[in-house]
Each structure stands twice: as structure tokens, then as C-alpha cells.
């Protein structure tokens, strides 16, 4: 495209805390009008997790540029997006293939800063996420909540190489500054991708999002998926995503990414922390609105299984990911066999950790078995968070820290039984090690 110098014409503008803004410079309605619907009515299809994530991004009118590294084997998100767009003759959406994941992250910074009203998604995994790290940490602090980095959980943050999925990668990136949302199941993946930008782009939050799901178990395995009509999705998102009140590079006279003195660094970081904490206020509201519109559970801090109304249980499990389904399937039988009240929590929001909500949910448990599936040199990422959440209770439940499913191994029913037995032993007063690793029904 060749530029020509247009005759000067007046354009309204106003001051913002981040510089001058020309609100009419970008006519977003034109982008909205150009969107071609993928679905015009609700349908049930069969899809794997990567396809679910790709379809969700393709259905968003604010997604017009899809940047990615072409060879991330854990996710065919890019291939799926490319396949759809290649069929749209005359379509205006574009894919952008970059030479490396680090370049993808840089590209997302430039694109998201250029137009803060569009959503810029990508997908990656494991070392790809590591490769992005220099810039994901800048992104995390940038206020660019219109970046959505879909992470397919994989274990190769560690040696030896393992191509199956545990959440070591995402949990190693807890402090990159992204809102980290864990999904289990294709439907939750699809639904989360639809909701995440509403949270990240909320004016109180302005923080990029990182929806994630387990490699292989959820990324590559198929299941039924209910997809919603694009128009309904747009109606939902448009209730939450208003034009950004801060200027971007295109519609602003502004500066991003300044250097600061240490004195002012404090203020920037406090602001970043506060934006992140506001996620705890807005996430349940977005989730509830989603459920009202689509009739499925929306974003939540966690899913639960088996808690009575008063919350009093003997054993509570805290875990995440699709293996929690095995626990759900055997929970009642185990409770009946042991005459214990057994319940569980599957974390959805990893960062910021919903400390208060977790404490309230677990405050009447006698013992809590925390199942960590990511490598950690201490008691486990989740264990430390749960321990922190419960620390100021007058009577603190006994915390049992276990590791299972490392490297993406299935957590079998017998493994769950052995881990719950560990919790039962804690209830009986047995001494517990700081952590224990279980696999195929055995403590390693």
C-alpha cells in the first residue's frame, strides 16, 4: 500500500494521562462490519482443544491479525486459523508468521500498542513461552490488556525433554504479569478464550491474559464442543469491552515504554499490582454474565466438587487440569469406603491467586491435599499459594503436599487413592514429609 499525504483536516482530540488522544482517528465500526461470521447459530461439533481456542479467536471481530511462530508442535492454533482465513476470499483478516517466538512477543507489543481496541492473540507452549519471556515481562507491565497469549501447558521448562503436558511452563511464568487462567476440557477452553479479553481489557485491569490448557490431554484430544453464533459472542464482548480511554500509537500523541528512576519505579509497580488485584473483583462478574447469556459456567476462581453447604469436610483436594475429572469420578466411592467427607477444588485462576476465596472454601476442611503437577524445587507452586491463603485461619487445616502427573502422565484412579490415603494419614496424626511424588499408585 502506498501512502499519500492527505489534506489537513481538523480532528477532535483531548488530553489523557498518557498523552493526547484522537478518538475519531480509528473508526472501529468498519472493522466490526467487515467481520465474517464463522457461526450464525449454536452448533455442536467435535474438536480438540487447539481447535476450540482457534475457533474462539476467529469469531472475535476485534481479532484481525493473528501472529505466531509456525512450528509450535503443541498447538495447531496457527494452522487452524490459517486454514480458515485461507478460505475467506476477499477477507481482511491476516495471519503473521514470525521467525521466532521472541519476535512474536515483540510483535504483540507493537500491534497491541498501535491499536488498543483490537485483540491480538497468539498461542505457544513450553520453551516457546520461555523464549518470549524477555518481552512477556514487559507486556505484563505494559497495560496492554488486549494481548492474549494462549499457552498449551508442557513440561519442557525442565530437562529431560518431554513433549507431553504438565503446567510447569505456565507456573514458571507466574510473575510475568499475565492473568493466568487454567482450563480443563474443550468447552472451557473455548469459553475462556471468549471471556479473557473482557477481563484483560477492562479499564480497571488493563493486563494481558494467558489462558492455558494441558498439552496432549486437552490440546490434542477431541470432544464435543458447543460453539456459539458470532453475533451472540460480539454482543457479550461489547458489553464489557468499551473503546479504550487511553491512546494507542495510531490514535494518540503518546509514549510507551519509558525508562524511570527508581523512585518512580515504585509507583509503576504498585499500579501494576493493583490492576492485577482488580481481576478478583471483575472476573466473577464477567463469568456470571457469560453464564446468563450462554447457559454454561463462565469464568470462576475455581471449580468445586462435593462441598456441602456448610463447607465442612474431612479431606479437601486442591488441583487443576483434566486429571481432576478422575478425582471427581472416584470421589464419592472413596468417601463411602473411608467414611470421610471428601471434596475438591480445581483452580481456574492461577494469577492473581484468589487467596480469600480459596480460604473461604477450605476453612472448614480438616486436611487439604494439594496436588501439584508442575516441577518445583520446594513443596509446589499450588501448595505455597494454598498455605498462604490458609495461613491466618485460627485453626489451619493440615496441608499435605503431593506431586503427580509430572511430564503429563495421567493421574490414575489408584494414584488418586494413594494421595487421598496420604491425606487420611494426616488426619490421623501421622507425620508427613514436606512433599511426596506419586505415580501409578505408588509413592516414588
Amino acid at each position: 500500500m502506498k501512502d499519500s499525504v492527505a489534506p489537513a483536516a481538523p480532528m477532535t482530540h483531548h488530553a489523557t494521562p498518557s498523552g493526547e488522544m484522537y478518538p475519531t482517528a480509528v473508526q472501529l465500526d468498519r472493522v466490526r462490519e467487515a467481520h465474517r461470521a464463522l457461526y450464525t447459530k449454536r452448533e455442536t461439533i467435535t474438536a480438540d482443544g487447539n481447535t476450540a481456542a482457534a475457533l474462539a479467536t476467529l469469531q472475535l471481530w476485534r481479532c484481525v491479525l493473528f501472529a505466531g511462530f509456525p512450528i509450535t508442535p503443541s498447538t495447531k492454533w496457527m494452522e487452524t486459523v490459517a486454514a480458515h482465513l485461507s478460505q475467506q476470499v476477499g477477507g481482511k483478516k491476516r495471519i503473521k508468521l514470525m521467525e521466532a517466538e521472541h519476535a512474536v512477543a515483540d510483535y504483540l507489543v507493537g500491534a497491541a500498542a498501535a491499536c488498543r481496541d483490537l485483540i491480538f492473540p497468539t498461542a505457544t507452549s513450553s520453551v516457546g513461552l520461555d523464549h518470549m519471556t524477555e518481552t512477556t515481562r514487559s507486556l505484563g507491565a505494559s497495560g496492554l490488556g488486549n494481548v492474549m497469549l494462549i499457552d498449551v501447558y508442557r513440561a519442557t521448562a525442565n530437562f529431560p525433554l518431554c513433549i507431553e503436558g504438565d503446567p510447569s511452563d505456565t507456573l514458571a511464568h507466574r510473575d510475568d504479569g499475565f492473568i493466568q487462567l487454567a482450563c480443563r476440557g474443550k468447552q472451557q477452553i473455548y469459553d475462556t478464550v471468549l471471556q479473557a479479553p473482557c477481563l484483560g481489557m477492562h479499564p480497571d485491569v488493563l493486563t494481558p491474559t494467558m489462558p492455558g490448557y494441558y498439552g496432549i490431554k486437552d490440546s490434542h484430544r477431541n470432544a464435543r464442543l458447543v460453539v456459539e453464533p458470532d453475533a451472540e459472542i460480539h454482543a457479550f464482548q461489547d458489553r464489557w469491552i468499551q473503546p479504550c480511554t487511553l491512546p494507542g500509537l495510531v490514535n494518540g500523541d503518546t509514549a510507551f515504554g519509558t525508562c524511570v528512576t527508581s523512585r518512580h519505579f515504585q509507583g509503576f509497580k504498585v499500579s501494576q499490582k493493583r490492576r492485577m488485584e482488580r481481576v478478583l473483583h471483575w472476573l466473577p462478574q464477567i463469568g456470571a454474565d457469560f453464564e446468563r447469556q450462554f447457559g454454561r459456567p463462565g469464568l470462576a476462581f475455581f471449580d468445586t466438587a462435593g462441598f456441602p453447604d456448610d463447607g465442612a469436610v474431612d479431606l479437601a483436594v486442591v488441583g487443576m487440569g483434566p486429571d481432576f475429572g478422575t478425582f471427581e469420578a472416584m470421589r464419592e466411592a472413596y468417601a463411602a469406603k473411608t467414611c470421610l467427607r471428601v471434596a475438591g477444588v480445581a483452580m481456574r485462576l492461577l494469577t492473581p491467586f484468589p487467596r480469600d476465596a480459596v480460604r473461604k472454601r477450605l476453612e472448614r476442611a480438616k486436611a487439604v491435599v494439594v496436588v501439584n503437577q508442575a516441577h518445583h524445587h520446594g513443596r509446589g507452586h499450588l501448595t505455597l499459594d494454598v498455605a498462604d491463603a490458609l495461613a491466618d485461619l485460627a485453626v489451619m487445616p493440615r496441608i499435605v503436599s503431593v506431586f503427580a502427573g509430572l511430564g503429563g502422565a495421567d493421574v490414575s484412579q489408584v494414584t488418586w487413592e494413594r494421595m487421598l490415603d496420604q491425606g487420611r494419614a494426616a488426619l490421623e496424626g501421622s507425620a508427613m514429609p514436606p512433599w511426596a511424588v506419586f505415580h501409578e499408585g505408588r509413592q516414588l
Binding site: A6, V31, D106, A111, P247, V250, T254, G257, C259, T261
Partner: protein, 337 residues
């Protein structure tokens, strides 16, 4: 093309308030780029970590960018700048370019936008060579300005892939075992041509008219234009205050970094630098103005000219040989179509 005087009267987007060293060539270059880009198009500027960045985007000090003293009423005068990590400037620029283009394709914006990226040679040629070459390879319609001071100046004057042979840097110090930088510079001009750039140039504001004309051509280029700006660094090259432009001109004329402009499909030319060594200023006069070469040359008290230090004639001869090959290389590159 606009007139030189007309451009000189334009409003530069590089404003007072930077903390660059007095006499820094980067400041002169950015002021000129800022003026040329005041051409009726809105400007988006991306900048990698570098002297130019840390010295001009420091909050709460003055952010030394923008046109005019107040926010511009005219959208074409508006100016946006973004900094990210060292290597990122071309990628950020490519992203801003793509978003601008895709918005234009949708009919969502109707004003032209130009995108300029700036990096140091460390950011563009060491950490960021991959980013630079791939942005060129993808033919992104941006202008890339690489401020080549031949060192990582911002971080302590360390060696970069653009460092001149025998130059003393903080990581190629001069000692009995090693006479400064042992390596030849990366052939970055050829790399950019080979990667597919639409325009590749090496020119500093010491060649004033050529510089602004080249930047103007770069802004009009339909693919990636890369302008390498030799940027004598008063602190890293260790020369006296007031010698910046003279040194930039002398370095170009003696063959250390000849002025060169090449356009795809049109070929190029070497400017103000003779192919024949006899017709060029003596290399020693260029080296002698900088204390980074103090181990190679010294002033002859008899005639005031610089000459090789005792036992350094062989090194100086190697330096002359490299300079000649440098000049020959650019003359040959200029013949590429």
C-alpha cells in the same frame, strides 16, 4: 523531494530535553530525521534500548519527543513513540505498520501513517540481527535507522559487531597480548541488501543534504529501508568536544565508513570517498583524533601529522588494507541492480 532549506525549517519530533552527551551524533541525526518526517504524515516511532532511548524517554524527566510545545491540533503532526527491549525496534515497527495497513484496508483510518524504527548497532546488529533481517525479508514498509557508534555505548562502551578493527573498547582493551578489537566488522550493508531491503544507505548528517535526501527516500520506499548512520561517540571513541561532525565526515572520506546509498532496481553509489587511496584523506588523521586508537598512531612533532607508533606499522598497514577493502566492497555493492 523537498528542498534542504525547507526541511531545515520544519518542526522536528526530536525535542530539547535529551540527556545525550553534548556533541552526540545521535542527537544530530534524530533532529534531522525528526524534521524530514514532518511531512504531513502522522509518525509512529519505535526505538530499541540504546543511548538514544535511555537518554530521551526517561520519566519523570522530559520526554524529548513530539512536535511542538503543545499537543498538536493537526493529526498529521501527532507523534507516537514506543520503546521495548534492545532488539525489538524493527519488529515493533513492523507490527505498527501492519496494524495501520490493516485498519486502512478496513477503511477504519483515512490518514497516512509512516513508521520509523531506531536502534543502535548493538541492538540492530548483535542482539537484534535476526529481527532486523526478518523484517527486511518480509518487506515491511518501514524506515530503519541504525545509529552506528560501533559499540554498546549505553552499557559501558563494549565491543559490537560493527566495531572497527584495532579499536579499543571496554571488552577489547589494548594490552601487550592484544591490540584492541581483533575482528573485522560484520558486512551489515551487504546483509541488508541480500535480505531484500528496498534501500540501504550509510550516511551521517555530516553529509547534510545527502542525509536528509536519503531519509526522505527511505520514508517513500515501498519496502524496508535501512539507513546506517555512522555516529562518532564522544565518550566511547574518546575525542575532543566539537569534533563530532568533522570526525563523521573524515571517517567517511578516508574509507572507514564511506557514504553510500543503494536502491533496489536503481543501484547505488559511493559518495565523497575516492576509490583510489591516494585521493582520500590519510587514515591516520582519522585515527589520530580518537583516543580509542591511541595505541596505533601518534602525532609527529615535526609536521603535526599522525603516524604509526613504533612497532605498530604492521597493524596500521592491516588497518589500511581493511579500509581499502571496505571501500572496494561498497563500490562493488553499488553495482548491484
Amino acid at each position: 523531494m523537498s528542498g534542504y532549506k525547507e526541511i531545515a525549517l520544519r518542526e522536528s519530533s526530536f525535542r530539547p530535553g535529551s540527556t545525550l552527551c553534548p556533541g552526540c551524533m545521535e542527537s544530530i541525526a534524530l533532529q534531522n530525521v525528526g524534521r524530514v518526517s514532518d511531512n504531513g504524515m502522522k509518525t509512529i516511532f519505535t526505538i530499541g534500548t540504546s543511548c538514544a532511548e535511555v537518554s530521551s524517554l526517561a520519566f519523570p524527566n522530559v520526554v524529548a519527543w513530539g512536535r511542538g510545545d503543545d499537543s498538536p491540533d493537526d493529526f498529521a503532526k501527532s507523534f507516537s513513540i514506543i520503546h521495548n527491549v534492545f532488539e525489538s525496534a524493527p519488529t515493533l515497527a513492523e507490527a505498527a505498520r501492519d496494524v495501520s495497513d490493516i485498519l486502512a484496508e478496513h477503511g477504519a483510518i483515512d490518514r497516512p501513517i509512516q513508521v520509523i524504527a531506531a536502534s543502535g548497532d548493538g541492538g540492530a546488529l548483535a542482539i537484534g540481527l535476526r529481527s532486523l533481517l526478518h523484517t527486511i525479508y518480509r518487506e515491511s514498509r518501514i524506515t530503519m535507522v541504525v545509529l552506528v557508534n560501533e559499540i554498546f555505548a549505553n552499557t559501558g562502551f563494549q565491543y559490537s559487531p560493527a566495531t572497527t578493527p584495532f579499536a579499543e573498547t571496554s571488552t577489547t582493551p589494548v594490552g601487550e597480548a592484544q591490540p584492541g578489537n581483533p575482528r573485522l566488522p560484520l558486512d551489515y550493508i551487504h546483509l541488508c541488501i541480500a535480505a531484500g531491503a528496498g534501500l540501504v544507505a550509510q550516511v551521517s548528517p555530516a553529509h547534510g543534504k545527502l542525509f536528509v535526501k536519503t531519509i526522505e527516500k527511505a520514508l517513500a520506499c515501498s519496502t524496508t529501508a535501512v539507513v546506517f548512520v555512522p555516529a562518532p561517540c564522544i565518550s566511547g571513541w574518546k575525542f575532543d568536544d566539537g569534533e563530532t561532525v568533522r570526525l563523521a565526515e573524515l571517517g567517511a572520506q578516508c574509507g572507514a565508513y564511506p557514504a553510500f546509498v543503494w536502491e533496489r532496481g536503481k543501484g547505488g553509489s559511493v559518495k565523497d570517498c575516492a576509490r583510489d587511496v591516494a585521493e582520500r584523506p590519510r587514515l591516520e588523521e582519522f585515527l589520530g583524533l580518537q583516543r580509542r586508537f591511541h595505541h596505533l598512531v601518534q602525532k609527529d612533532p615535526e609536521n603535526g601529522h599522525f603516524k604509526a607508533r613504533p612497532e605498530r606499522e604492521a597493524d596500521l598497514e592491516r588497518m589500511r588494507s581493511w579500509t581499502q577493502s571496505n571501500v572496494e566492497r561498497l563500490f562493488r555493492l553499488a553495482e548491484l541492480p
